[in-house]
Symmetry: C2
Subunit: 345 residues, 2 copies
């Protein structure tokens, strides 16, 4: 496919504002770990294109990307722009695969403009959904919920699905997808307002505040035969307790470890191998990018449910790039209400 | 199918010797946890039959069966005969499903005679293999190796399969089956004689004494891309180290936890959930009886390899029921050379 590559008619600034990682964070990235700088706009080379970011995404996974700890990607370099997902529009292109004016979701970083190659694209925004849905519903949050639940959790009608960070950017989709598949979703979350949102908006049959309730006893009463699927975003003591309430043959999806403050040194916990054996669990790790070749399958399902009113989401939108440095601290403190994103369009 | 149910011509004794569990073992059952008694032979009722045991099986899983700790079956009652697998011959039958003279493998206990129903049968000994093979090759050891490796480990040609207790009653089959499937098997075992047996007899490309060698470094050198399948019979620190050497997408089969002395209280270890996530592991628990409907499939494969000279085994046979009380202590100390069984025919 050949696309025009001439210099566009957009009026381009000559400077680019960027949110720079200034030091290696200890655990959750704090505002002090970042600075906002302004640099000259680089020229695009053959094969590259320029994106004007519109929505910057704030994702819990950024903690891992900024960390030097064990992970699935190289740490963000100190002094470089913070690795981030974003939705933007192509304002200049020297790539035959990318057209001017295309709206894209990809690895564009916390900055006004990104000079990137087509490999940075995760999705092209072509579905009839709001543009911001590409950082949530059709972004890694919705894609994660869809693939992790359907491929690893594999609930069947009548199953009980327990979800941690149930009102979060992933969990809020998991509850609804589980319900749409005929399963009964039970949510765990950290405040009563989110407990209410789980039940009123996110598809959960029930939800519990893990800080204030005996959720283990409540789940035992609600699922007397045990938990069929535990969708875990937190790890730690909540995981340990959930493992001991799993049904025979239950599936545990390890999607995040948000409750564990640091992995250096590796923290200790109760040994879980005998639970895995005696309950015949299947405990699987999930990273959404392993499913990149099949994002189109998820789009179709997610957009279908969205159009049918069976999949909703909430957004917590800040205005202006100056909100980025404090955004991860805020979401790890549970302050956001819905998917956190930053509008800089 | 109707079979004769008349009283047979066998000369039956009137007393039955039994190995009784006299107290709840602390960890591995010791000789002092058992006594041998002699009781009157019970009459068989309608639907029951009488088995004269020939080979008593000694299995690591008996530790769990005798324990009050979390498990997949009810604890062996104190004062009752020790739960055990055995091969025997039917000497009396009032079951239409069981014929006199049939050789059976099943839940016949550590005793001379067992009065049981057909549900106690695991396999009928009809294949052209030595009778004792039904407590090993075609018993839970061979069946476990076959199903746990092929269904949960799923090695493909070229994969690296690491196995703990590699020269044991299960591990000795796992190494050979892995090799037969085109994978490279690496064994871990506790003495140098067994290391040699792994390589000379049990299909392993290499083996390491985990007590005396830096096996982690050796495995890293032998499998620079990581371990594709870890077949774990031991749990504990060996498991922890193996998890940290898994390849992306690796499978961990939890088949036993022999290295953990007790689960009351639950011991602690390093948290493993981030390893599962970042390496996208699939960690599954295995209990052979979940596959009971498909034992015939395994028999066919196992007997085929055996006849072709691609699957061998060793037996460590004691003579006389008086050897049963000390047998579990001996196998947990690694004293056996091959499958431990007791001939009382």
């Amino acid at each position: 496919m050949t696309r025009p590559t001439e210099i566009p008619a957009y009026s381009l600034p000559t400077r680019n504002r960027r949110v720079i990682l200034t030091r290696r964070p200890q655990g959750v990235p704090m505002p002090e770990d970042f600075a906002i700088d302004e640099v000259a706009m680089p020229e695009i080379a053959d094969g590259e294109f320029l994106v004007r970011n519109i929505y910057l995404s704030v994702d819990p996974a950024q903690r891992g990307w900024a960390s030097a700890e064990i992970n699935y990607s190289q740490p963000v370099p100190i002094g470089g722009p913070m690795r981030a997902l974003a939705v933007g529009v192509v304002t200049q292109s020297r790539s035959a695969d990318v057209a001017l004016g295309e709206f894209l979701y990809g690895w564009f970083g916390w900055q006004d403009y990104a000079v990137v190659k087509p490999a940075a694209i995760i999705q092209r925004a072509t579905e009839a959904v709001p543009l911001s849905a590409y950082v949530g519903l059709l972004g890694i949050n919705g894609l994660t919920a869809y693939f992790a639940l359907t491929e690893l959790g594999r609930p069947v009608p009548g199953n009980t699905v327990l979800v941690s960070t149930a009102a979060g950017s992933v969990g809020s989709f998991v509850g609804q997808i589980a319900r749409n598949l005929g399963a009964t979703a039970i949510g765990l979350t950290g405040d009563d307002e989110k407990v209410a949102a789980c039940c009123s908006r996110y598809g959960y049959a029930s939800a519990h505040n893990y800080k204030t309730s005996d959720w283990g006893a409540a789940v035992a009463a609600e699922a007397p035969k045990g938990i069929d699927v535990y969708f875990d975003n937190v790890g730690g003591v909540i995981l340990d307790k959930a493992l001991r309430q799993m049904a025979i043959g239950g599936r545990v999806v390890q999607c995040g470890t948000a409750s564990v403050p640091t992995w250096i040194p590796v923290p200790t916990g109760p040994r879980n191998e005998r639970e895995i054996l005696t309950r015949r669990l299947v405990w699987s790790g999930f990273i959404v990018f392993d499913y990149a070749q099949r994002f189109g399958v998820a789009n179709k399902a997610l957009v279908g449910w969205y159009r049918d009113g069976k999949l909703t989401y909430d957004e917590d939108v800040a205005q202006g790039i100056e909100h980025a440095p404090g955004a991860l601290k805020a979401i790890y403190a549970g302050e956001n209400r819905g998917k956190k994103l930053i509008y800089i369009g």
